[in-house]
Structures are given as structure tokens and as C-alpha cells.
């Protein structure tokens, strides 16, 4: 755990760099976090980020399939937007906790 300054805001992050308080998130914070992942955010990225933030704040569990059925982007498209681990990267950039699988 620690504090970092991102886009001029003091932000609490955990050991893996996920934000601890989703309410501190701003689009500027997202742009900076995305840069660290090597991603330049487009409008499409933001649509996905807003969707997963909404679901997260409602307390709904997130899966790649769920984002793929959101109507915003299909699963292949999601991998193109956030290469590597799309849900993990998108969650990090969206300022929410790391997606936990319920096993």
C-alpha cells in the first residue's frame, strides 16, 4: 500500500497499483494510468471504463464475457483495447479493485 500523485491528485494504491478509492478517479487519472500500461485512451476506451465502473459501483461481479455482452465492444475488441489481461488492465485504469474470481 502507498500513496502516489497521479494527475495532481494524491491517490492511495495497493501493492499491485490498483486504486483503493474509486471515487478519486478522474479521466485525467485514467489517461496517466493508461500511459503506464502503454495505452493511449480513446473514446471507446472510456466507454468501456465507464461501463465497468458503473457495474463495480453497483456491486456486480465483472467478467470479460459481461463486458463482451455490454454492446460496447466484443471480447476480441476488448483484447485489442487492453492487450494482455483486458479486465485486469481496464480495472486498474478505471480506478477500481482488481477483479477477483470467485473460486
Amino acid at each position: 500500500m502507498g500513496t502516489r500523485t497521479i494527475a495532481g491528485i494524491e491517490i492511495q494504491v495497493n501493492d499491485e497499483g490498483y486504486m483503493m478509492d474509486a471515487s478519486q478517479w478522474t479521466p485525467e487519472v485514467a489517461r496517466e494510468l493508461a500511459k503506464e500500461e502503454g495505452i493511449e485512451l480513446t473514446d471507446k476506451h472510456f466507454e468501456v471504463l465507464n461501463f465497468i465502473r458503473d457495474e463495480f459501483l453497483k456491486g456486480n461481479p465483472l467478467t470479460i464475457r459481461k463486458v463482451g455482452k455490454s454492446g460496447i465492444v466484443d471480447i476480441k475488441g476488448l483484447y485489442e483495447l487492453f492487450p494482455g489481461g483486458p479486465l485486469k488492465k481496464a480495472s486498474k485504469i478505471a480506478g477500481i479493485s482488481k477483479p477477483s474470481s470467485c473460486v
Partner: protein
């Protein structure tokens, strides 16, 4: 006459029918249970069928044997649930009204959700072991197989009994040793998770075992499709893994009736309050077990622990008292590790599996996150308890709420 309707007569529905019939006056309460199928399968036993340890006869009994007298049982498909009208329509148009509804329709495998999975190679070189048909077909295949690359893949999260695919590869390792062909078999465990399991302590222990048994782990693989010509599985990010035989956990989804009734999430699981087990939308509907979208394992032990909470809350509601019982997500899973040994994990929403002893602190006899012969016997004995105690809704010798006593942090 007031009416309780139970949809699904599997582990959860059967337990509820038994407990409620005992608790509620027959003159006041009519209890009806609906299920499509007449056979109750002991699903934890499917795992042993591919390796010839169990046959189909070891895991099946008539469902009717487990329902109490005084419960009205209807074997039928359900057409639709109409929660606003407090009624359920059966196939053929029969209408059943209810005062309280318990949804226990479970989860099912959906191989057709993955392109190429249920095609030419299905039950020839591609098998699931979550259905009796798949488990039996795989047992025939393994009898004749002379070796090659066995790939165990999980298509989607969540899936029923999260430790089963791990147990499968452990048992496969032991089986091929006994067949004398282990040196001719490569075993790969391909998972969408970042490691062998989700929780750190259990992952560490299980990864050690996988390594010891020379089983390769390929994490972060999210299945897109199966190529029947090339005999490969492909992920969304372009990885491709060849197989000679593929054991698959297909996408798991809730029952189709949940989708038809517009009551499910994207995987047809019913949004449910994770503590009260009440439907998030309708206060006279409760959801038990795999059918719910709870953030815990989909497993019989969870159903059993949750059933006690659901029972208490339903009775409280009926009597006009506040619902005080809270489900903690308690799960308890034996993990067969092969060669007559087993491990055990015990956890809930907030506490990951930890080492220790169970169910008696400091005594056991079972060792949590340990690999022992006694744990294996626990799993063997459990089948008897399941048929004779658990399904009947009788007292099990374990606590409903997870306990930290006996666990080491």
C-alpha cells in the same frame, strides 16, 4: 392454505423440502417441488468415473427417495416464472401460484457457447466430466489411450466445483502412472485464472503439487474457440495450444428458465443478496446454491451451509420477524490429489483458505491445505453422509458458519 414452491430438486431443493416439511404445519402450508429429471446424481463422484474408480451406478439414485412425505413433487419442465404475478407456469400450461418461491435451479454446462467445442471431436477426443455422459465416455477413451498430450481447460469463470479440474489432473497423473504410461503422457492445466487457484495460500500449495507431479500450468488463457482440424484450443489473444485429448470445463450458465423469465444476469444467475439469500428484486423469492450470483464457490458444501441461513430467514419472514441470519459464503472442499491422498480447504467471502485442522481446532482429523491420507478418506466417507444425512436436511457434524479456530494465519 399457504404455498411454498421450490424450483429444482437437486442438492439445495431437496434439503429445503426436507427442512421445511418438518418445520411447517401440513394443515397450513402446501409445499411443492418441481424438477425435470427423476435421477439424482452425486456430482462429486463424476470426477472418479473417467479413471474407473466409480461407475455410473455409484453416483445415481432416484430423486424420489429423498423427498419427504407430504411434499407435492411434480416432474416437469418449467416454462416461465412470473414474479410479479407470484406464479410459475409449467410446460403444458399448468399454473402454480405461490406465497414464497425458492429458486434452486442450479448451473449447467453450455459447450455450445464456445465455437468448435461441441463438433466432430465431441466425446471422441474432447470430453467434459461434469455430465454423466461425458464422464462415462472419457472412461472408455482412457481405457484404450496409449498416451499423448492431455489438456485440461476451463472455459469460463465461475464454474461448478472450482477444485474439480485440479483434482482431475492429479488423478490423471496417478492413473497414467498405474497404467505404466505416465512417461508417454504430457499433462497441461490451462486456465483463465492467473494461477492454479485464485487465493494466494491455496495457489502456493497447489502449484507445488502440480510441479511435483510434472503438470504444466498455462495461466491467463481465455478460450475463444476449438479448431477440430488442427486439434488446438485458441484464446482471444491469439495463443494456440495443441491437444491429443481435451478435458474441458465448458461455460457454466444458470438454467434457461431464468433467462426466459428475465431474472438472470449475463450468465443467467439470479442477482441475490449475498447475506440474506433473498432475491434482490422480489422479497418473497429466495435463491439457493448455484442458481444465485453469489461471490463464492458453486459447490454442494456452499448449498448446504447456505440452506441453513435460507431456512432461518424464510421462517423469520413467514413469522413476521426481521431476517437475522447472514450467509458468510462458507465453502469447504476436499481436493483429491491422487495416490490415496487428499487436501482440504475451508474459506468464505472474506477469508482465503488457510492451513490448519478441521473441523476440530488443533485436532482435525482433517488437515487444511495439507496433503494427507485422512483427507482422502474424508472425501470417500462424504458420499455416504451426502446420501444419508445432508440431503435429508439432518444435522451435519460441521458448523454452518466458517470458524477461524484451528486455522493458522
Amino acid at each position: 392454505m399457504k404455498k411454498i414452491l421450490i424450483l429444482g430438486g437437486g442438492t439445495g431443493g431437496t434439503i429445503m423440502a426436507n427442512r421445511l416439511r418438518k418445520a411447517l404445519e401440513k394443515e397450513e402450508w402446501e409445499i411443492t417441488l418441481i424438477d425435470r429429471y427423476k435421477t439424482h446424481y452425486y456430482q462429486p463422484g463424476f470426477l472418479f468415473i473417467p479413471f474407473g474408480i466409480y461407475t455410473r451406478h455409484d453416483v445415481m439414485k432416484p430423486k424420489g427417495d429423498f423427498y419427504p412425505a407430504g411434499v407435492n413433487v411434480i416432474f416437469s419442465k418449467i416454462e416461465i416464472i412470473e414474479p410479479l404475478e407470484n406464479r410459475v407456469v409449467l410446460e403444458g400450461g399448468k399454473v402454480l401460484n405461490y406465497d414464497y418461491l425458492i429458486i434452486a435451479t442450479g448451473t449447467q454446462t453450455k459447450p455450445e457457447e464456445t465455437p468448435g467445442l461441441k463438433e466432430n471431436l465431441w466425446y471422441k477426443e474432447i470430453f467434459d466430466f461434469y455430465t454423466i455422459e461425458g464422464a462415462v465416455a472419457l472412461s472408455h477413451f482412457f481405457k484404450r489411450w496409449e498416451g499423448g498430450h492431455l489438456v485440461m481447460n476451463i472455459a469460463e469463470i465461475p464454474y461448478k466445483c472450482p477444485v474439480a479440474p485440479l483434482e482431475f489432473v492429479f488423478l490423471a497423473d496417478a492413473f497414467f502412472h498405474q497404467q505404466g504410461i505416465r512417461d508417454k503422457v504430457k499433462i497441461s492445466y490451462v486456465t483463465p485464472l492467473p494461477g492454479a487457484f485464485t487465493k494466494p495460500r491455496a495457489t502456493q500449495m497447489l502449484s507445488g503439487l502440480l510441479k511435483e507431479k510434472n503438470i504444466e500450468v498455462i495461466p491467463e488463457f481465455y478460450l475463444e474457440s476449438v479448431d477440430n482440424e488442427k486439434k488446438t484450443i485458441k484464446s482471444y489473444d491469439g495463443q494456440e495450444i495443441p491437444f491429443d485429448v481435451l478435458a474441458i470445463v465448458p461455460v457454466n450458465m444458470g438454467s434457461d428458465v431464468i433467462e426466459r423469465s428475465g431474472m438472470g444476469d449475463d450468465l443467467n444467475f439470479v442477482p441475490t443478496d449475498k447475506h440474506t439469500l433473498q432475491s434482490e428484486k422480489y422479497e418473497n423469492i429466495f435463491v439457493l446454491g448455484d442458481a444465485a450470483n453469489l461471490p463464492t464457490s458453486k459447490a454442494g458444501s456452499v448449498v448446504h451451509f447456505a440452506s441453513e441461513v435460507l431456512f432461518e430467514n424464510l421462517i423469520s419472514m413467514i413469522e413476521g420477524r426481521p431476517m437475522l441470519a447472514r450467509f458468510d459464503g462458507h465453502a469447504n472442499c476436499y481436493i483429491e490429489t491422487g495416490f490415496g491422498k487428499g487436501s482440504l480447504i475451508d474459506f468464505n467471502y472474506d477469508t482465503e483458505p488457510l492451513p490448519g485442522t478441521y473441523p476440530l481446532p488443533g485436532i482435525g482429523p482433517f488437515g487444511l491445505l495439507q496433503n494427507t491420507k485422512l483427507n482422502h478418506y474424508g472425501k470417500v466417507i462424504f458420499r455416504w453422509l451426502y446420501w444419508h444425512v445432508l440431503l435429508k436436511g439432518k444435522e451435519m457434524p460441521v458448523e454452518n458458519e466458517m470458524s477461524m479456530a484451528g486455522k493458522k494465519l
